[in-house]
Amino acid sequence: MEVRPGRDAVGDVRVAGPAEPTRRVRTHAGASVSEFQWLLALHVTGAFLFLGSAVAAGVLNLAAQRAEKPSEVALFLGLARFGAVGIGLGGALTLVLGLWLVHEGGFSYGQTWIILSLVLFAIAGSMGAAGGRRDRGTRELAERLAAEGDAPSTELRARLRDPAALALSYASGLAVVAILALMIWKPGA
């Protein structure tokens, strides 16, 4: 079952839900955007912030891996912290509004795609947090090395290419892409 928000001839919004194949959510008098559309647009805004910040953090981590000097590594990993803030804010917004949309759209919280999404969200969050802790240690090492002469270091290079940290980051990224796929296909709805 899929949600089909869209306007009909009288300006209502059609929403397909499992209990009612075509439920009408009336727009507020005089308003051009219904409550459902507001929630959906804000939910997608949260998702863009969440996933886009993960992309930004990944790009900045790749830049850190290419950097030669510890000061540059510290700079890139320092900027990646903005990505972490965006992931946190976007994730919270996506989750809260997503749960609200489940209710508003007439879905059940027990549907497969919703349960799977929540499980993947928790997995992505815990793996991303673990990867983030490792990145923080790497950034602190880079800052220390930068203050001690800024010479390239094999220890720092090894930390940047630590397979465990990379695996956590990539797995977390894959989990959020899987959530996006679940949001689009809605298996079991």
Partner: protein
């Protein structure tokens, strides 16, 4: 909107575009005040825009048009016209930003190029936010 791979790839492309332009924005504004790291920041901004943002725009645009054809959405639909206009104007802004970031990577001491890159990418981020709002809420219909 029916779920299909084209829609998934359109949305994924848009997200990667937003994230990579966001990273380039951070690099550019940081480059404006950087002392001694301008070269690394400029190179990273240029590679990010060329290697991530531009391919992501292509994916977003191709699969967006494919989705439109598959769904038989009329060309006159307002939210689609706004989204398409932002995508087309956006790639022009993106190409100019690629150019300014390339010039900045060649002359990292010229902070005006970092400012130009930051301003263009910030503008693009704002335009992308308008596009996803309009295309999600489907207003005006």
């Amino acid at each position: 909107m029916t779920a299909h791979p084209q829609l998934f790839l359109h949305v994924l492309g848009a997200i990667v575009l937003f994230g990579s332009v966001g990273a380039a924005t951070l690099l550019a504004w940081r480059g404006r005040v950087a002392n001694g790291s301008g070269s690394a920041l400029a190179g990273a901004a240029f590679r990010t825009l060329l290697g991530f943002a531009l391919p992501a725009w292509i994916v977003m645009f191709i699969f967006g048009n494919w989705t439109k054809s598959k769904e038989h959405i009329p060309d006159a639909t307002h939210w689609l016209k706004i989204g398409s206009a932002i995508a087309i104007a956006g790639v022009l802004v993106l190409l100019v930003a690629v150019g300014t970031s390339f010039a900045w990577s060649r002359t990292p001491t010229r902070r005006s190029l970092a400012t130009a890159t930051g301003a263009l990418t910030t503008l693009l981020l704002a335009a992308l936010a308008v596009a996803w709002w309009v295309m999600t809420a489907k207003v005006p219909s």
